[in-house]
Every structure is written in C-alpha cells, then in structure tokens.
Subunit: 345 residues, 4 copies
Amino acid sequence: MTRVAVFGASGYTGGELLRLLLAHPGVEVVQATSDQFAGKRLDYPHANLRGMSSLRFVPHDALEPCDLLVSCMPQGGLINRWARVRELAGRVIDLSADFRLDPAAHERWYKKHPRPADVPGFVYALPEWTASALPEARYVAVPGCMAHASLLGILPLVRAGLVKPELVVDAKTGSSGGGATPDRASHHPERASALRCYKPVGHRHTGEIENVVERLTGTRPSVHFSATAIPSVRGILATVHGFTTRPMDEAEPLRAIAMAYREKPFVRLIRPNTSASPFPEPGPLQGTNYCDLSVDVDSERNRIVVNVAIDNLVKGAAGTAVHAMNLMLGRSETEGLGFRGLHPI
Amino acid sequence: MTRVAVFGASGYTGGELLRLLLAHPGVEVVQATSDQFAGKRLDYPHANLRGMSSLRFVPHDALEPCDLLVSCMPQGGLINRWARVRELAGRVIDLSADFRLDPAAHERWYKKHPRPADVPGFVYALPEWTASALPEARYVAVPGCMAHASLLGILPLVRAGLVKPELVVDAKTGSSGGGATPDRASHHPERASALRCYKPVGHRHTGEIENVVERLTGTRPSVHFSATAIPSVRGILATVHGFTTRPMDEAEPLRAIAMAYREKPFVRLIRPNTSASPFPEPGPLQGTNYCDLSVDVDSERNRIVVNVAIDNLVKGAAGTAVHAMNLMLGRSETEGLGFRGLHPI
Amino acid sequence: MTRVAVFGASGYTGGELLRLLLAHPGVEVVQATSDQFAGKRLDYPHANLRGMSSLRFVPHDALEPCDLLVSCMPQGGLINRWARVRELAGRVIDLSADFRLDPAAHERWYKKHPRPADVPGFVYALPEWTASALPEARYVAVPGCMAHASLLGILPLVRAGLVKPELVVDAKTGSSGGGATPDRASHHPERASALRCYKPVGHRHTGEIENVVERLTGTRPSVHFSATAIPSVRGILATVHGFTTRPMDEAEPLRAIAMAYREKPFVRLIRPNTSASPFPEPGPLQGTNYCDLSVDVDSERNRIVVNVAIDNLVKGAAGTAVHAMNLMLGRSETEGLGFRGLHPI
Amino acid sequence: MTRVAVFGASGYTGGELLRLLLAHPGVEVVQATSDQFAGKRLDYPHANLRGMSSLRFVPHDALEPCDLLVSCMPQGGLINRWARVRELAGRVIDLSADFRLDPAAHERWYKKHPRPADVPGFVYALPEWTASALPEARYVAVPGCMAHASLLGILPLVRAGLVKPELVVDAKTGSSGGGATPDRASHHPERASALRCYKPVGHRHTGEIENVVERLTGTRPSVHFSATAIPSVRGILATVHGFTTRPMDEAEPLRAIAMAYREKPFVRLIRPNTSASPFPEPGPLQGTNYCDLSVDVDSERNRIVVNVAIDNLVKGAAGTAVHAMNLMLGRSETEGLGFRGLHPI
C-alpha cells in the first residue's frame, strides 16, 4: 500500500484527487493539507465525499513523511516549499506550472524561476506520449489542462507531417478551471451566461504547447491560442484549426490519430456514423479520465479541424496525476479511473 | 453470473441501468432491447458508454430467456407484453408504474388495470423500508422518482408520530425525468430557463405516496404534492413541509431520522455544522445512489421541513433497481453502486 | 424634469434602476453614488448601459441636493446616513428593509431599530394594494422581493376569505437576489447546479408577509416560508400552498384574483387554455415589471395553489421603485416600464 | 402608419419581430401568419407578448395585401410562395437564405435556385455597410446570423488591408438559432451541457461571408468557419482569428474599426480599461440590436483576434429586419430598437 499525501487538498483538483485516491485499491491517503480547513473532515468542503473518510485536514506545515506526494497547490505554492517537500516525500507529482517549463520559458510566461536547477528533475506527464519515462520518474509535472487537450489533438498530426506548423487553437472552458476562490468574474450572476473570449492572445499555455510539440516531434510550431469561457462548470473543448500540408480527406488524419492512440485506454477517436452524439463533448466525460477526439477536413480549403474534449479537473488534472502515479508505481494504467461518465447530464 | 436483460434500454433510465450493470461484478448483460436503435451498439445513443461493450440492441420482440429482466419501458409497456415477459424472465424488476399501485389506486391515478390479478405478485422496492421482502421477491416494482424522494423524508416522521398527517410536498425536478423523447416543453430554448410549477395539483405520485405511507406506517396521510420544473437535467429536491404534533426543536426529528437510516448505506443525514454545503442538493449526487436529507424546525410556528435530494435517474430509478437486484440475489447491497458523485458540477 | 439621485448605484438593483431611469422621459439622473467605482462611468460595472450615459459615479459622501433619491444601499446603509439624506433629498424611495417593518417587527427579524421614530413616515409600496397612499408619500419603502411575490398571491385570497390563514410559501429564487458581492455560495462552480433550500425556516420575509397581510386585510396569517436557490440568475417563483375555507373549484379564486388586479397593468392572471406556456415562469418576465399568476385547486383535498412569478430585480426591486415614483409624481403608472420581456430566453 | 404583415410568425424570429413591431411607433401589424397556431392569439406561443395585442394568427394562405411583409419562414418557405407574396406585398424583407446568395453560390451551398431571375432584385441588408441601398430597396434579404456577426468583425480589417485574406472564424452559438421545432439535438437533457463543434467544416455561412467580403471590399478571402453549440439559448460570439499583413499592435486595427462604425448606433467597440466586463459577451446584448466588438493583437506571432457578440435573434435576425425597415421607410435608424439589455442575466 503506497502512502500518499495530498498537498493543498481543499480546492477543486484536490477534491477530485481525494475522490480518486480514496477509492483506489493500491494507495492509502495518509494526509491531506489545507490551512483554511485544518481540523475539518475531508467532506467539509467536498460534499461528494460525505461519509467516505474520517480523515481531517492538517495545515501545510504539518506535512509528514510519505511515499508519494501529490501537490494541488496553486502556482508558486510548491516552489516555495520545495526544500521541505523534497525531504519528506519519496516521489512528487505536481499539478501546477511550477516545474512544467524549462527555466527560460518559465521566465517568459510566468516569472524568473527561483529554482532552475530543480526543473530538469521533473518528467512532463502526458501519459499517451511520455509514459516510458514515468516508471523511473521521481518528480512529475502534470500538464496544464488546456495545453493537455490541445496537445492530444496536435501531436499526432504534426508527427505524421499532415499539418502545417501554424495552428489556431480555440479552446472553450468551464468555470471550475478558475479554482475555488470567489471573485467577480466567477460570481454566479456574472458567469452564468458568460460567453467571453477572456484570453484572446497571450495565454500561458501557448508556450507550454509550443515547447512540448517541439520536444516530442522535433518541429517547432506557432500556436495561436485563445481561451473562451462558456457557461458550464467542468470541461474543455479544444478546437484545433490547422492547414494540411497537401490535399487530403479525413482518411489519412483519422489513421494517424487512430495509430497514435491505438492502445491508449483513455483516448477515444469518434468515427463517423457510430454515435447519435458524433462530436466530442465534455458533458458525458465529466468525472472521467477519458478524452474524446474527432477530425474533419475541408478538402476545398485544405483545412483540418480536430476537436478534443476532456474534463479539465480529471484528464486535465487529478486523473492524469493518478494515471501517472499508476505508471510510476508499476500498476495497471486504468486503476482507480474506471468511472465512465453520465448521460444525460 | 446472473444473466440480465434490459427491456427498453435506449432511454435515460435504460442508459443508467446499462452503465451500472455493465460494471457490476455479479451480472452479465445478455440482451438490451430497443426498437428504435435495433442493430446499433449500446454506445450509439449512450455516449458515456463509448467503448464499454460491443453488445447491440435487439428489437423488443427478440427477447430471449434470462435470469432477471429489468424493464425500463414507459407506462404500459410492460403490462402489454407481460404474458410473454413472464415466460422468458425468471425474475422481473419494473421501473414504470405498471405494477406499483393496487388496482383501485391504479385506476384512480392512471387507468383501469388490465391485469389486476398480477399486481399482488409485485413487491414495492423501497430498499430502506421493504428490504426484507426482496430476497424472496420474484417480481419487483421500483417507486416513482418523486414518490421515492418524498417517502424517504416522510416515513420516519410519520412512523415516530412527530408530524401531523397533512403534508405539503413541494418537489423540484430536472428535465431528464421527462424522458428522451423531444417535445415542446423540453425543447432547450423553452426549458433552459424554466422555473415552472407544471403540476400544482393532481400529480400521480400523490396517490403512490399516500398509499405507501399508509401501508408502511398504518397512518393514512393527506399529501399535498406539487411538482416544479427547474433548469437542470438531473436531480430532485423534495421539500416536505409538515406540522409537528407537539412543540419540539430539531433534536427529536433528527434522532428519528438517524435511527430510521442507521445502517442504510445510501441515506445520509446532514447534521448542522458539518459541511460547507449544509443543505441537501442533487448536484453532487448526480450519478450516485445516495440520498441526502436535512431537517429544520420552526418552533415558533410548529413547522418542520425535511429536504430530500436524490438523482432521479439513479436513486430514483436505475440505482434502486440495482439495489433491489443485489438484495434479490443475496449480494452486498452496495455492489456496483460505489460511485460517490462529483463536486463541483 | 424631476432630478433623481441613485444612492448606492453599483449593485444589481442599482444597475436596473439606472437602466430604467436613464430611459424614463420624466426624470433626469443627476447623481449615482458608489464608493467602489467613484470616478468610473456608469457603464463600467453595468455592461448593458454601454454608451447610454456619460455620467460618472461619485462617492456616497458627495451626494448633493435632489428632488428624489432612490436608495439601493444594502441593509443598514440608509439608516446610518439617514440624517444627511433626509436633508438633501426632497423625497426618498428605499429598496432595503431599513424602514419596511414597524420597530418591534424590525427588532424581531433584523435588529433593534436605531431610528424607530422615523419608521412611521414611510409608506410601504405595494402599488397594486397601496397606490392611494403614494401620491402624498414623502418616504417610501419598497417590499422585499420574495415578500412582494408572495403577497401578490396571498392577498386576494385572504381578503376574499377563500383560504385558511395557515399558508405554506415555497419560494424559488435565482442568484441575483444575493447581490453583486462574490462569496463561496455564489461562486459559479458552487452555484451553477444549486438546488438548495437554503432557508427552510426563519426567513426574514416571513415577518414582512404576515405583517402586511394583517395590515391590509385585518387577518393575521401564519406564514410558513421557505426559500430555495435554483440554478438561474433572475427570477422568483413563489408557490403559495393554502387550504380553502370550504369546498370549491378554481372558478371562485380565479374571480377573486381577477377582480383584485382588474385594472392593474402589471399583474396578469393566466387563464386555462390561453397559452402554450400556461404556468407562470420568471423567464419571459426578465427585465419587465410584470407579475404572472395562476391558480389551481385540488377539490378532493381542499388545497389551493397560487403560483406567482416575477423578476426579483424589477418587479421585486427597481421596477417597483419606478412604479412608486410614477405614482408619487402623478405620472402614468407604466411610464418607463414598457419592456415586455423576451422569449425564448 | 405602414401596414406590416409577418409571414411565418410563430417561430423564434417571428416572435422577436412581433415584439419589436407591436411596440414600434411607425407601423401597424395587420397580419401574422401561422398554420400551426391559426386562430390563436399572438401571445399563445409567445408568452412574453401576453396582453400586448388581441390579434390572432391566420393561415399562410389567408395573407392579404400589405405595405410591407417580413418573412420569417424557414428555408424555401418564401421561394415557394414568392409569386403570390410579390403580388400582395408592396415591399418584402426576408430573414431566410432564399434570396441572399447569387444563384451559383446558392446552388453550391443550398440547392439549385428555382427562381434565379428574382435574386438580383434583393438588397443584402447589412445596415452598417449597405445602408445606402436600402431606402430604394423593394426586396431585402437579411444576413444569416453567424455570417452577420463574422462580417462585422472581418470587413473593417480587410477593407483597411490590415489582415491577410485567410481567416479562421470560430463561432459559438446558443440553441435558439436552431428554431422552435423540437428534435433530439435540442432536447433539453441533450443540449443543456452541450459544448460541441457541430459544424467543424462545411457550414453554409462560409459561402455567404466569402461572397459578401468580396462584394464589399474587392478582396476574396478564404474563410475557415466552424460553429460550436454552447449551453445557452441566445447569443453568438464570433471569434475571428486573422494574421496581420505587417507587424502592428492594437492601435491601428482599433482605429480602423472605430472609423468603420463611427456613426453607427448599434456597433460598439470596447476599448481597453473602460469596463469591468472588457470582453464582448452576448449575455447583456440579449433582446437588443447591439453588437459589441473587441480587438487584440499578438505582435510576437502577428495574429489579430476580433471578437464579435450579438443576439442571434435580434441583431442576427429580427432587429436587423426592423433596422432595414426603418431605413427603407426613411425613419430614424434606431426607432423601435431602444432596448439596452439586462445585466446580470
């Protein structure tokens, strides 16, 4: 039984992680930290965990040694406590951007990295693409949720040389990606009807996508990323608009994507005429670690469109952490991630 | 391995049942019927089951022998095929109102029952209250979703003599209770902002609630039931307004409810100051078989309010069918019903 | 041209008031106060007013003399500045509860009233019932939004002696009634799926309703009020459950309600078979000053149900302020309140 | 008083048109046709018009002579009755695509045009760009809603030579654009959580946009259009992704857009730092004829993003019909279109 601590466990990704880990047959949650809810039971802020555990939150500073620590701290939260965490935790999975980018890119998109020497120790966990590095990894960085969705659509096409390296990504996202802290933009009366392109240019995930595509395919793309808030809580739909390198119809990109994810249990390519709901939608993926994909080609204009749907809190965060953990621990990839989602929802 | 057929499996309760049964360790789904989708795979109409099974729908008439049949047919669908179903299925669980009420009540609220002699063969499956009759039951009727929620709130109070037998039940419900067939009232532009008391009086579940309370407690209440459509897909919140038989505060009814559900794994009483979300809400119950309850008393006016939240498609339908099936088969009550729900959602 | 100041104009009722007053032919908005947005244009927080006015917010303390002041300050905001406001404003309309209740009731439901001697100077503005007092009124208190909806349904029945004085009111409300200040309960991910009876007993509007019914009909009722949050932004549906004083069908209460609102332009009784949407719903009332009503009777159980729908920010707040203002100024009742609402929405 | 008939008045654009025309000081609605609701009052299907008119629907065939007819018939509805309509109506405004495209384009995107000789008689009504042709126009075609939003963003940039003629348009839309007829995709339980790119390529408005840009600017662009359903009822957000012809920041495109719409009352450019809601959103535009626009530039990648928000039923349909009508009749542009929208909503 692997002894796992959840560091920063009172937010939305922390809650998802607890939901998944408390039901996971191979691990025991030994600590969950939260300064705000210290002393309260785990189900105090997470209503869905009602009656599932009698564990109580402890302050961040009360962290004790554990086999594996998953950090759901916000940006900067792990960097600032890295010296101590490294001492206490045998292995670490981080859900923030603290150790995702090389120091130069980190400085460009966030700020000067205070611990550049520690960055190379982290493996970037995109399990369908970097699984082989995970069993040996001691430190793991989980991708940003919108970068993750975008990459799953972009990588097979770039690798197969089907698409020009100028890509427009128009990502739509629910409100839970913004976290559990109230503010004006997420106040229900302001957010309930929101359909707003809140980050037309300059989104930080731009750098992450460009970086990872280059690292994994050798081609450096220009990614033109925009993020739009839509009136839902969970879910991302990333629409990747690309241009084919030569005339083609759907057959070739369908094949490339199918090949890329052939034995990947969590990525599903929706083929034409197989569903009454033939487009990827995050709705029925809520709570699951699945990613649904589709591909369409406008042969007349040489455009290719890949749609990618995930649950930002699961495949885009906590689920990938568990997926990575399973690989790190040599367990079955899908362990603890069996939930199939709801329809209708 | 019990061989189970789902009769009428293309609607919303059918989909939920398939989701639960396909992941259930003790049963094998051998047939799923649908005239509309005959020949298509189960995941054709149920996007969440994508890749979960290679079974295909067969027409209703192609039903073959099975150990247990669960019918998700609409009102009248089972009655009309009862002779044949009875021959093919060892045991039957029905989710419609076909065999819920005694023939007189059936005629009062629906229409003259065409097979009155078969009604007494059915056990009414309210597992927290009628579990003892289920292991021996051959035929089982699952309660109506709004009746179910209401009864879980009413029964402990009436049995303990804490409440007068005049009860106002104001039930709020999402759109999925209306089924998968499109109509004007459920057309998205008409339904998305709906807050409409569409059945202020005369709702059929009135009779079911009065009937069952009398049968289980010996007291015949007057139930004043109204149903209101609210802008969500899943979930019921039944607000039971009653008047106490004598002055009291919350302590006594809390005790009565806690006692009634002491060892019932799916009913949770929310006690004061134990949650940042202290009121029962169907949101985090979506997909689960849980029921959350709270009780409040206005001592000054002798009013007692019990709020009861469930997912209409699970605790209110498919989940109770599985719960009943587990008891019929002598298996653990909670088998296949382990999903804990999502937060936020 | 009446010179009007809006005191506390950056919240939701303040915004609605500005929308109505800026388009009103008989008044000029001379000042709008807000400490938070002082120096910004009115359309800075109120996106719908974009380009409608070049006025800028001033701090509360910069208030200057005006003919009429409408206060949208939160509870206590006007009481605390009453000495000064009274000096500067010829007439005052208050949207808070500061001067709604007699001092004893105020103390019971809020806290000890610091200026009890000033309370009797205020007329309670329920225009369909207290219009005659408004032309002479110098100070006016606008009803609470849920009290307002409830009263419009209760008053005709009690006055006509059709209903027993024990009433259960189950009111459903959108999120905008909670105001513009972010908090956890109104954070979008927490509120978007909310169906929670957040005030089962003890809601302050209980006292207001009992008080006003007694004052206007001579009968003191017991009002059993519960408030439920539903997943929408605007709108209240108050479902009044009563018991008839003698056997009857719908005819008599329909007549009583029709009589009560015969020449009242903003209250509409929906008669059977006249609409494809035969139940009152706040959806198509958004932005309007209308109130839709229906009545249903369960003759078998002597229950009567009156459903009342309004927009909490208009009929429940800013619209009634303008309606009262029109009557105070001797103008046409409907001036500036002509918007008919949207369908679908 | 211009005598106006609404042809096909029971759907959503028909309802909006009635709402606007019934309150318009310069016209009288003399007939409204609907086969489905013939004999019913206008407020039977349109709940928001309750009490606003005592007119009743007549069958399409009962059409009588009028000064001006507005057709809200679905695709093909007007073409098929054109001989008769032309005889009875002095002037005609059509909201469908029947006479929007030249016959060749019509055949490419719809089907062979049965009356090609009549197409040139129609003026395409994009009031901010083609106003000068409207006073003399006898026959007018209103743009498609998504084409309209896209064009308002694209035209100023192409005309000013700021953007390359390869444009990706990612348009998000609510459910009301699909009309009032129920179907599976718009059934509330299926549509409520929808975030689906239902037309990634091949959308008919592609041709309309390319056509009109060429006609009005002389440059033929390649438009790469995708349409995504989002979980709301009204509203379109069109995100136009383009590439600048040379390095620039926001200043130049802001100027070009500001110039293009300088004296256009319904188009509003949101400038940086002027609003707490600085991005165009269709929410507060619901019910209005306004269009909100913003522009952002990623200088590093030479990308320009223009976001355009409208209400698909008003600016995208009925409002533009009234706007065009005002210009045809020589009346003030804004007459009958004064509603400013709601916030919050």
